[in-house]
Structures are given as C-alpha cells and as structure tokens.
C-alpha cells in the first residue's frame, strides 16, 4: 500500500524543504530529521492538503513551525542589549538577516508560536506582510498586531537583560 501522494509531495518538495530547514536550524543532521518529520506530518494531514498550486506554502508552514519549535527547545545565549536595541521593531533588511535571525531565536522562548512564525517569516525570510498573511492563512491585521507584539517583547527583553 504505497502512499503515492505523500511520496510524490516528498519527491517534489523534499529538497526545497531540506534547504529551508538547513537555513533555519544551521545544522545538517537536524535539518535531515526536520525534513523527514515535516513530511510525516504532511502525510498525517494529507486530507487537508491543498491543491498543488498552494502545496508549497502549506508544507513551508509545517516545516517552519517544526524548525522554530526545535530552535525554541535549544538553549540560547542572551543577546547583547545594544543589538536588540538596534534591531527591535525595525524592518530588518536582508543585509541584516543574520542579526535579525539571532534576535528572533533569542525571543522564541517568550513568544507565542504564531508570533514566532510571523517574526521569522517577516524579519528573517524577508516576506512582506501580505506574504506572511498568505503563508500562515491569517489576516493582514493579525500580522500587524503580532509584529507590534514582537516589538514590545523585544524592548521588554532588552530592559530585563539590561538590569
């Protein structure tokens, strides 16, 4: 009983999702596990799979969610306060991608899951608000609200670590 649909999705999107997991996790072995787990989750929810045109976004969301949870479970170093002050709430450009990534990783443990995803997609991946809303299946207003929440969390974190 070969599950052809899951296997087809894996063959089509596996390399792209692996590359995404590598970019988020910065660890080849962890990315391998994340890729496999992503597609096992895809298979588990195959009944909800969208049409091929939207499959990438759906699998992207599953992979992102898994990887951010993995990052959240890792223990992170505190970020120097001046770095947070510099980047918090700023629309980090791609040239600042590394710093934005560090900032979001350090805030993961304090952010709700959805806010973490929005923070990553917006500040690290460089998606605009409309793209973030599309990937996560939420409204533009929610994206804006969560980004404001992120800004508050970043400033609060900066104040705490400054003490």
């Amino acid at each position: 009983v070969r599950d052809d649909k899951s296997a087809h999705l894996y063959r089509t999107y596996g390399p792209v999702i692996y590359a995404r997991c590598r970019r988020i996790l910065k660890d080849p072995r962890a990315a391998e596990d994340a890729t496999q787990e992503t597609f096992l989750r895809v298979q588990r929810h195959l009944a909800k799979a969208p049409d091929p045109q939207h499959a990438l976004i759906w699998i992207y969301r599953i992979a992102t969610n898994y990887c951010l949870n993995e990052l959240r479970n890792r223990v992170g170093r505190p970020l120097p306060v001046e770095d947070i002050a510099e980047h918090a709430g700023v629309d980090s450009g791609l040239a600042e991608g590394v710093s934005a990534r560090d900032l979001v990783v350090r805030l993961l443990a304090q952010l709700p899951a959805q806010t973490s995803q929005i923070a990553w997609l917006y500040h690290v991946d460089g998606l605009d608000r409309a793209e973030v809303a599309k990937v996560l299946g939420i409204s533009l207003r929610t994206v804006g609200y969560r980004l404001a929440e992120l800004k508050r969390a970043a400033h609060s974190y900066a104040r705490r670590t400054a003490v």
């Binding site: 899951s6 596996g14 590359a19 791609l94």
Partner: protein, 249 residues
Amino acid sequence: MTRHLSSLAIDALALDALPRDGAERAHLATCTVCKARVDDAQALRAQLPPRVMVRTLEALDRRARFAVAFRVIAPLAVAAALVVVVLTRTTVPERAPDAAPELAIKGKPDLQVYALRDRRVFRVDDGDALIAGDEIRFAVTPAGAGYVLIASLDGAGRATIYVPYGGGSSVAVDAHARTELPGSIVLDDAPGPERVFAVFTPSPIPAGDVQVALQRLAAVGPEQLRGSPRLDLVVPATQVSMRFEKAVP
C-alpha cells in the same frame, strides 16, 4: 521591484512556480545579492543526502501500511473474539429457571495494544515481549465511561502519559463503542517491564493525578510493576492494564 526576494520567492523560483514574466525574475536578473542567495539555496538543495530520501519514503510507506493494517486487523481481531464468545456461550448450560435474570449485559472495559515491527502488525497480549523501535497503538472499549487516559510506567521508573500525549486531562471517547486512538508510540531502548494503564472515567481527570500515582508505583521498583495491574488513584475510575517486557533487539 527594489526589494530583495524573500526566501519563499527563491524557493518558488526553484520549483518553477512563479510566472515567467514576473517581477521576481526581473529583479533576479539585475540583483547580485539575490542571485547569490539563489545559488546558495540550490547548493543546499543538492546536499539533501540520498539516504534521507530513502528513509523518509520508507517511513511514509511504513506509516501508510500500518494505518491500513490497523484498520483491517483490528476489526478481524474483534470478529474473532466475538466468534469465541459465541462458541463459548453455546456450550454453557442454560440458567436454571429459578435463577435471578440478568438485568443487562454491560460488558467490561478493554484495552487492546497493537504493535508494528518490520512492516508487520500484531496484537500484543499481556506479558508479551516487545523491542525498542516497535511502534504501538491503542484501541479501547470504555463500556460506559466517556473519558480515557492512557499512561505508562517502565522498569526504569519513567512515567509517561501516552494519550493524550502531552495533554493535561483525559480525552473524550465514545462510551459505548470500540475506539482506535489516534497516534502511535515508538518504544525506547529501556529494557525490562513496562505497564500501560487505561483509566476510564465518566468525566475528565487531570493527567497530573495519574502522574502522581505512577510516581508512587515507580518508587516501589520494577518487580512490583509486574504485579500491579492498577494504579492507586484518588478519583474513582475503571482501569485496565497490560504489561509487556521490553528486550534489547
């Protein structure tokens, strides 16, 4: 288009999922930063080891087979059990005319465990041996209680709530029907006895109460685990448990 491409756009380009004459391709033709990111992404994609593809496809295949086999075998097991019950009942002498009539046959709550090993699904009975890596699933017959919680204690004293995994209280099930519970558990390599408890209650109970009872039993030791089919719970509950022995493969 002056903004750099997002990661999603770069991945969509790799899948040829963007329009040929779209702004993304026009931007890419003139932006060295994004061109470098596209090349990096391509290099990363090429680094997906073939063994990951093999093992993932096998895992997908195994899970699909397990789900189908579980759906096929479990009803067959129930049917076989019914045949045994019918045959047994036909050989029992009829009740004496002056005996008190039964008011109702409510049945007993039941816990069934199925295991997947090397693409083979089999029913686990009390005392059976399982090995690390075996994937187990549960089916319950509550016989009137609408909530169930499945918990486990192994010989090393590790207590785990299997259903709901990571949840805070027992889950609702059909009180009068056999229910296959979603999800499966992959056994770890801790050898020795492991006992799985199904706790049936008419209303949800906190998983913490069951954890406390498991810890109390764990403090006694693995030998006691073999002979303790019930947990000492503070709430009234119907319990069914099953023990298996984990061996190193």
